[in-house]
Amino acid sequence: MAEAAVRCLRDGRLEGEHAPALAVASTLQGLVIVAFDRSPKVYLDFMRRRGLDQNALNRCVRILDCYSDPIGWKQKIRSQQQQESSADLCSMNKENVTVFRNVKDVDKLMCSTIDLGRGFEGEGKIYFSIAVDSISSMLRHASVSSISSYLSNLRSHGIYFLPFCFPYHLEVGTQCPSFVLVIYSYCRCFAPAIILWGYSATWNSVDCRGTRENYTGSGPRCEVIPYVQLRCYSSEVQFNLELSEKERTDKANVVLPFEHQGKGEPIRIYDGRRSLPEAQRDPNLTSSTLLDEVKLPKSATPKGEIHYIRDSDDEQPDSDEDPDDDLDI
């Protein structure tokens, strides 16, 4: 499924435009991950599992770690304990992980991001991608305007083309009008989720939308890639409420009792004894009463009539008999 997503994103690329990091990753020159929500180890493990070896990781992946100590508390505690003053906001603790300690300062964040991107070895122009995980966490520390200028700066930076993806959380980022982010994106991947307990539990499909008119030449591009086929459970019940595809077609093909009448055939009314055409054919029956119930659709304006013939078992009108006296209670 990842391949399909990559293909979808890459096919829509025009000269001078880049699809987001998802697509670029296959021909990775450099990737800077600005990590807010997860530990750098998670990303490195993930990429290792996807077959990138240590050399490749060292060569083309840099992580700006805004997760471990985003507002410098750990530094503060350490300096209180050891009575040392270290004003260093960034520190390199591993080969490709840089810890950033003041995420409220978006300008410094911008500089650090670009510096990491410049650090890639290469000849001539270096293309690298930036993945921000996630904008909604950034928004907790900085204002919408400063972040939009951060994104705008990245995008219009002279030498580099800097595509990035925003795994932003629509629900959490309530103070952030999400269109601010959409404006800056060439392509938007949206993962609608099945709703469990009123919040998202897992991806159901990935919806890729190009937001530029020239993306395909004809208009905004929109494609929905099914991500995982999920059995949908409601949170309150233990059994599956969803129908399979076959069950759905079978259900659609069922002719309901009131649907098969009036298609040129005689309208039959069940008389509780036997079917009417049979009764008509039966010479032993005096079928005059039964025939009353058969209306052939001859005219364009059929009249409706109800004929009622009292049965011998029926109660006589005005009888004194208790209708329920045969009940044994």
Binding site: D37, S39, K41, V42, D45, F46, Y67, S68, D69, P70, I71, W73, K74, K76, I77, Q80, R140, H169, E171, V172, T174, L196, W197, Y199, A201, T202, Y233, S235, E236, V237, Q238
Partner: protein
């Protein structure tokens, strides 16, 4: 999980990979008993824990856990349990900034953790907060400070063998404006345990239903495992029973 027998549905549903567990409850179905069970489980088998108690004094937890067969006073003396009584947590009341109080609190947790690591107890460490809603009250409603603090607690899980358990009252956040904290917690949680009253109405022998959502997406073995569990519970003096609907009586 060995403590409660093999058939304990809650342990089965929780699995073993979850680092951040959020327990949501409501007035009609208090979820504190889940916290007590998890505290007992955390201290069993050589583990250590720090309990940030904003809701109840130590004597309460001591009494409850004693009935469940776990002596908190003993654990506290042996420094396996670090009890931080935050019922009088200053927040921003004493003139200092709220964030400074949280920095100190985080420092306390880190010290407790370091102390338990240097000792003989090299087992798992658990940080419990009872409850996050009161933490927000203590922070004078400053959600950002609470979230910063919780984020730092979460970073502990990736550095050391540590897990977190947060209790939060879901019904406080039913209005839209106060929704942020609950949503954030749900996002950072690997495991959401929700206690709710029975959807079918009241019953004398069933106290409510539990829904467990396991979100450990990055661990491979969980990929095929069940993600969502629903079952009923009955709280007893010495613990709780968990069972599927209709499997009792």
């Amino acid at each position: 999980m060995e403590e409660y027998g093999d058939g304990d549905l809650l342990s089965e549903a929780m699995g073993s990979g979850a680092r951040v567990a959020v327990v949501e409850d409501r007035v009609e179905a208090p979820g504190a008993f889940v916290l007590h069970l998890l505290l007992k489980r955390a201290l069993a088998g050589g583990g250590a824990a720090v309990l940030l108690a904003l809701a109840q004094p130590f004597s309460h937890y001591d009494r409850v856990l004693r009935k469940m067969g776990c002596n908190l006073s003993l654990h506290r003396k042996s420094e396996r349990l670090h009890f931080l009584d935050l019922q009088t947590f200053p927040g921003g009341a004493k003139g200092g900034a709220i964030s400074d109080s949280f920095v100190r609190l985080y420092g306390d947790i880190q010290r407790a953790m370091d102390a338990s690591r240097t000792g003989d107890n090299a087992g798992r460490f658990t940080v419990m907060i009872d409850d996050v809603s009161l933490l927000e009250v203590a922070a004078c409603g400053s959600v950002d400070d609470v979230l910063d603090f919780l984020h730092y607690c979460v970073t502990l899980t990736s550095e050391m063998n540590c897990s977190l358990v947060f209790l939060i009252h879901e019904d406080i956040y039913s209005r839209e404006e106060g929704y942020g904290l609950l949503l954030h917690l749900r996002y950072i949680a690997d495991l959401v345990i929700r206690a709710a009253p029975l959807s079918t109405g009241l019953a004398t022998d069933v106290h409510g239903q539990i829904s467990v959502l396991n979100k450990c997406i990055f661990s491979e073995q969980r990929a095929k495992a069940q993600r969502i569990w629903n079952f009923h519970f009955r709280v007893k003096e010495n613990g709780a029973d968990f069972f599927y609907p209709g499997s009792r009586h």
